[in-house]
């Protein structure tokens, strides 16, 4: 087979990182990224990009930990290099505080992040309503910079990137040998996945450059994540809510909740409100599927449904998806050589 042609549909953090992994594992492949939205208009752009994993109920913990570890290691190396500022990757330290003691004493990722420990009494004095806390250092991927950096890396390896709305994966069968589906919440319509549902998140991105430390309430609803230029204040987790319109009442509620954790935020300026729909699922759909119509086959690798944890596991799932693409290509090459007999 001549250079296998792979189409990656979707240009959020999953699509772009998957495309990059494919170029790394399959240098002879011709990779094209197709998407109707690019940074700064993807779901990834709304997210703070904090490396704090979300637990998927349907995936074994050791697999999730492996994905997180691979992602953390990859980004750690970038944060330590001259490219860090361009890639938008930086270390940030802070606290996760709990009003009620969490079920597990230690989260599964406590030995992957840096310097994880239980907060001291003196540190907890800053949070009178909270009983217990964890202090640690982790990484943050700021978007748009990270997505733009991925696009730049892709273009440097010869990947073509096109704005195109794909309404049906089958429409790609003539042009591409393998299709990779990284469409996030778009997979609901694109492949009719009824197990995929939105969890609406509204956030505020504010100018408060004196905030250097992250604070997250263990209930996951209130968080303060300092980025390069803006601090992300969150948030909401509204299941099955498809609205992308910011809600003013929610804005005030988020702001008040964050100010109660960090009073200095009252002085925050230039509040921008954003909404994203977390593409949520019991487990990430990371698998091969062969579509067929009238004797013609189209191998598809699905890599979507990362919900609240996309950034935390993106590189790990991208590598697995690239491996599956490799399997698809081997299968195609095997069958094409059989066809020659």
């Amino acid at each position: 087979m001549a250079a296998p042609k792979v189409a990656v549909v979707g240009a959020g953090v999953i699509g772009l990182s998957t495309a990059l992994c494919i170029t790394e594992t399959c240098p002879s492949c011709s990779v094209t990224v197709l998407s109707d939205q690019f940074s700064p208009n993807t779901t990834s752009d709304v997210a703070a990009g904090m490396l704090i994993p979300h637990t998927y109920p349907g995936t074994p913990i050791h697999v999730q930990k492996q994905w997180f570890k691979e992602t953390f290691t990859y980004l750690f190396a970038i944060s330590n290099s001259a490219e860090a500022s361009e890639a938008g990757i930086h270390l940030v330290s802070g606290w996760q505080v709990f009003k009620n003691s969490p079920k597990e004493e230690l989260p599964f990722w406590s030995d992957v992040v840096l310097g994880f420990r239980v907060m001291s009494k003196a540190e907890l004095q800053k949070f009178p309503q909270h009983q217990l806390g964890h202090a640690f250092t982790t990484l943050k991927c700021d978007c748009p910079p990270y997505l733009l950096w991925l696009e730049k890396r892709l273009k440097a390896t010869g990947v073509q990137i096109y704005t195109r709305k794909v309404s049906d994966l089958w429409e790609l069968h003539g042009e591409y040998n393998v299709v990779v589906n990284c469409t996030g919440i778009g997979a609901c319509q694109l492949v009719g996945d009824e197990k995929l549902f939105p969890v609406r998140g509204q956030v505020l991105k504010v100018h408060a450059p004196w905030v250097k430390t992250f604070i997250r309430d263990g209930d996951g609803l209130t968080y303060i994540y300092p980025g390069i230029h803006r601090v992300t204040l969150g948030g909401t987790r509204e299941k099955e809510n498809w609205s992308l319109t910011p809600d003013p009442g929610t804005t005030k509620d988020i702001f008040d909740r964050c100010c109660s954790l960090e009073p200095s935020l009252r002085g925050a300026q230039d509040i921008k409100v954003k909404v994203g729909l977390r593409p949520s699922r019991q487990h990430v759909r990371l698998q091969k599927e062969v579509l067929s119509q009238g004797g013609v086959k189209l191998p598809v690798v699905h890599n979507y449904g990362h919900g609240a944890g996309g950034f935390s596991v993106h590189r790990g799932t991208a590598k697995e998806a690239a491996r599956l693409v490799g399997e698809c290509i081997s299968a195609l090459q095997g069958s094409s050589s059989r066809a020659k007999l």
């Binding site: 330290s93 001291s120 540190e123 250092t137 004196w210």
Partner: protein
């Protein structure tokens, strides 16, 4: 009762505020005036990054450790208030790096969450094999000094832009108490061979992705002669120069190169940072802070002087503890002059 404070850096302004807060109620005639030839943003304090961190060792100077603690606790108490942002005060975490194990510092229990660095964290800093992580505070003088000035102005304190040439100049003019917060130039008013410049130079850059302070230490070359990176609310300060006995306030190209190369080696991403300003200043270094009373006699008159200078590279770190101590000395002066009595115990 007329009090003249000489010096408008962090020491002068905070001492003035502390004294006014404590005594204006007890002494209705209290009038405080500040005399200085340099005001913010041209004071030595303005050049400091603003990180609360004492030197590694207090050399048995327990008094200074207590003043440091008093300052930290005072600032920490203000963190949750609406004033924090206007004071230029915020929390910051970061790293102290060493090439060999060192004893824990005197301030390990003053800061928050003090711990040793893990091996994985040390991977971030090749060449360093040992270190600490802790959460401390930043107090940026370019914001704090104007805040202090506003608080003082509200209280009716007056400011004069004037270089005071002698204590007699202000005491002869009717000042009952003179507070000497002249920092590096205290020697102009009264020779003090123990006061020496600790020349520093810094480069201010735009590097908003840096969220931690990183202070390296070279036990052989001494404090602040090893690169450091301190992120502020707007700019990040790169430094690592401490030249004892050097009075030159001009920017040195050689020092610039030393700072830039060393800091970029420490944090490669800094290579892309844009330089916005360079500054050089003289830390008013002394074996210990001079914080004491002195009665100066000139002819038939006498004036009480409270000295509060010689805070080296830890002025911001120690300022409030010293201001409180100076205020206590002021109180003893008032008692002697029978202008105020200590509160009587209620029986």
């Amino acid at each position: 009762m007329r009090v003249v404070v000489i010096g408008a850096g962090v020491i002068g302004l905070s001492t003035a505020l502390c004294i006014h807060e404590q005594y204006h109620g007890l002494v209705p005639s209290l009038e405080i005036e500040v005399f200085a030839d340099r005001y913010t943003p041209h004071t030595t304090s303005d050049g400091a990054a603003g990180l609360w961190q004492p030197y590694l060792s207090d050399h048995g100077n327990l008094q200074e450790t207590l003043w440091n603690k008093e300052t930290f606790d005072y600032l920490l108490g203000h963190l949750g208030s609406a004033a924090a942002k206007e004071m230029g005060l915020f929390l910051i975490s970061g790293y102290n790096l060493f090439t060999q194990p060192v004893p824990d510092p005197s301030w390990k229990n003053i800061v928050l969450g003090f711990r040793n660095l893990t091996p994985k964290e040390l991977e971030l800093f090749p060449g360093y094999s040992y270190g600490w992580f802790n959460t401390a505070l930043m107090l940026e003088c370019r914001t704090y000094l104007p805040w202090l000035t506003n608080r003082l102005t509200e209280r009716g304190v007056k400011f004069f832009h004037k270089k005071v040439e002698s204590f007699q100049e202000v005491s002869g003019d009717g000042a009952n108490v003179v507070i000497n917060c002249t920092g590096m130039r205290a020697g102009d008013l009264q020779p003090d061979p123990e006061l020496q410049p600790g020349r520093g130079q810094i480069i201010k850059v735009l590097a908003p992705w840096v969220k931690h302070f990183i202070i390296t230490h070279d036990m052989k070359s001494g404090i602040y002669n090893s690169p450091y990176v301190i992120p502020g609310s707007e700019f990040t300060v790169l430094g690592g120069i401490y030249q004892h006995g050097n009075w030159n306030e001009e920017i040195s190209a050689q020092d610039h190169n030393t700072i830039w190369e060393n800091c970029c080696r420490l944090l490669p991403a800094l290579q892309k940072a844009k330089i916005v300003q360079e500054w050089s200043g003289l830390r008013p270094a002394r074996p210990c802070v001079r914080l004491e009373r002195e009665t100066l006699r000139h002819g038939h008159s006498q004036a009480e002087v409270i000295h509060n200078y010689g805070h080296g590279g830890f002025g911001i770190t120690i300022h409030w503890g010293c201001a409180m101590a100076a205020a206590r000395l002021f109180g003893s002066i008032l008692q002697e002059k029978k202008l105020a009595s200590p509160p009587q115990p209620r029986l």
